[in-house]
Symmetry: C2
């Protein structure tokens, strides 16, 4: 069960909130070898690793149109409907993030603007395994298509039949994903970074994954390809008080804990009574969970922290910078104003994290491991580049020319200054 | 002088546009040692490295208020005026990028929004050395302050007197930078990543630097702190035709070439005549440059490429993804529409790169080394996080609850489903 820490001293906070550190040196060597093998041998290496890791002989690396069409027949009407409802909300929220370019005259004759241009080729990694993350296909595929990325591909590991999860196929068809490949693990990341005969090299790789996938993304991001976010295990912090419903709070903590034994769960409160009730509820609700063992493992290193007041609570929240933050206190709107570091925030008694995981409309690909101090979750910006443009008239260059030349010379860059001088000293020829 | 390549075959393009690859393995080991030394010994290590690398005994690590005030007396009125003019334009352009949060009702009872929150603590690295980049202090300091980052610090190497460049001090005072430290190199990056007795640990590090600084930024970004951009030598591609002014084009190529011998310079054109004239002009203008030797070194590995038509030219531009792109053709507006991969674009005959380097208003911290395929240059987004919020009413949860539960169960995450069910099955108590 979760450890309870009462009124910890400020000096202990950093240690208390520390995330587990993985020693990844050995892992890195192993993943480097896979990456350079895929870079060198291409498709053949992909077939080999799939045979070894997924225990399946691939009929083909690419999922054909026919398999994607057939998936629509396998997915239940109920699931299709849920997918479309989530799609609508995610689309609605992300579409509003598209901003129009505006020309700004910074000074007479000097026109500057930012233009949002979609990234050419993006690769989405969708984990399979024990919990096939079909929702991730929605969360990454929808903004990629809304942004207008010309080529959007998915890599996802095959099941033992050699087929990929039919719901993922269905979503790929629904969203108009350009190509889908049945490859998972570090080998999929290597393929999207370097390209193979079948899989195109992309400019940016998105998506969660196990430690192999995560390490592969980190390695290829050093010199080859952009990635969405640095990764770490999923996290939830819940802020609650006397007014919160302990059964709801317990259900939220458990929903995070069932992700994996490395999941991080925190409850921050100023109420001893709530702690008692939540622990009670956790024990009760845990019993019937299919993933009880995983949740128990995660809870064992999770923490309930009793703090003096809401001020202390919000200070600790911002120091921890949780991926997900539920604020279930009566005055949740006041506390929401105080959030500085978090990935996504869930307000009130009727906003469970799972709403945002699937269907409220916000993105569920979020910064973990304290990266919320500096990173946003995936949003429309993640799929575009903002290119700046400037167009200066002869008059405009006269206007700013002196400043440019003086600054350039202060930096001892004479040629920079010359490029202005030569223009201003030339007679206008037309 | 620059190599001329006539009508290269498509199959050669990738090789032709290849950037130099640095073998950084040995460097990495050395930088790792500096970083862990600074992480362990703090200020003492900073004093030691400054003695070794900058050959100066530091009186203090922090630049005091007095030194900053005194800088105003040392900087010429002319330079101050140029700084303020640049400041105005940079502020005007960046201020327009601030977007307001809007609440989006994705479906009845489900309210979602994005809130832009400034990053708590940011560190700006401003190189000193042969060309003290005071313009970089403006380009990073202005958006950091506009974004409202609560703590903005600068690290910049000391001169042999132990003082930092007075223009950088002056800018720090002008912009209201919170603290300034006289430390440079990998040790400065380590200090901002780990914190020392004097220098606070920051959440994100910005700024250019030599290969030591660059490698240090890359290392600390793996698990400690965010960085602005992956780095590489500065680059310029110029697109020109018969209508372009060869003297202007030459001056632009030279302004890029003087940065360093590793600078990348490309001229893409469909005009043989222009090539002849530009080469002529380069030879002529090169003579009088103080940094002639550096420029000559850079030009030796730079390229002039003659292509069949503007379509080919723009395809090559987008394949190369230059940091800076000048389009000096008659129809520059048409070609601007075709730019997909570039950091910042300069249009027409009167828009030299140096205008954007200093004073047009756009940012000069831009993606190099092909990263413009996936990265934007530094802009207001670089200093904020977009945190998502959602507030769902009981009615709203009824609305999306089924979709959430069905999707959660399709992912075999029962506890996720439960967190909705338990709320919907509980009687509303108020």
């Amino acid at each position: 069960m979760m450890n309870v820490i009462n009124y910890p001293e400020r000096a202990q906070w950093n240690e208390l909130l520390q995330r587990p550190v993985m020693d990844s040196t050995i892992l890195e060597e192993q993943i480097r070898r896979i990456i350079s093998d895929v870079a060198g041998r291409g498709d053949e290496a992909l077939m080999d690793y799939t045979r070894t890791f997924d225990r399946v002989e691939l009929p083909s690396i690419e999922v054909g149109r026919k398999e994607i069409r057939e998936a629509a027949g396998v997915v239940s009407g109920e699931l299709k409907h849920a997918i479309e409802e989530a799609q609508w909300n995610i689309q609605t929220f992300h579409k509003k993030q598209i901003t129009r370019s505006e020309i700004i005259v910074t000074t007479a004759g000097v026109r500057c603007w930012q233009k949002s241009v979609p990234i050419d080729r993006v690769g989405l990694y969708i984990p399979g395994g024990t919990a096939p993350l079909l929702s991730t296909a929605l969360m990454l595929g929808i903004p990629a298509k809304l942004a207008g990325c010309p080529e959007v591909v998915i890599c996802t590991p095959p099941g033992t039949s050699g087929k990929i999860n039919p719901a993922i196929s269905y979503i790929a068809g629904l969203l108009g994903i350009d190509r889908v490949f049945r490859v998972g693990g570090a080998q999929a990341i290597a393929a999207m970074a370097y390209g193979t005969e079948t899989i195109p090299a992309v400019n940016k790789i998105f998506g969660p994954g196990n430690q192999y996938v995560t390490m592969a993304k980190q390695i290829v991001s050093r010199n080859r390809v952009a990635i969405d976010l640095p990764a770490g295990p999923s996290e939830l912090a819940v802020v609650a008080d006397d007014s919160s419903n302990p059964a709801f709070v317990a259900s939220d903590l458990l929903s995070q804990a069932e992700h994996g034994t490395d999941s991080q769960v925190l409850l921050l409160t100023d109420s001893r009574e709530l702690i008692r009730q939540v622990r009670d509820q956790i024990e009760r609700q845990l019993e019937s969970l299919p993933r009880k063992e995983i949740a128990t493992g995660s809870l064992a290193h999770s923490k309930i922290i009793l703090l003096r007041d809401q001020q202390e609570i919000m200070e600790m929240v911002n120091l921890y910078a949780p991926e997900h933050l539920i604020i279930a206190t009566k005055n949740f709107r006041d506390l929401a104003e105080k959030v500085v570091n978090a990935g996504s925030v869930f307000l009130g008694n009727y906003t469970p994290e799972s709403a945002g995981d699937y269907a409220s409309g916000t993105n569920h690909t979020l910064p973990t491991n304290g990266w919320a101090h500096a990173f946003s979750g995936v949003n429309m910006d993640s799929f575009i580049k903002k290119i700046t443009f400037q167009e200066i008239s002869r008059y405009g260059l006269h206007n700013i020319g002196d400043a440019v030349m003086i600054l350039a010379e202060a930096e001892q860059l004479q040629a920079h200054s010359n490029s202005v001088a030569i223009r201003l000293n030339t007679e206008e020829d037309e």
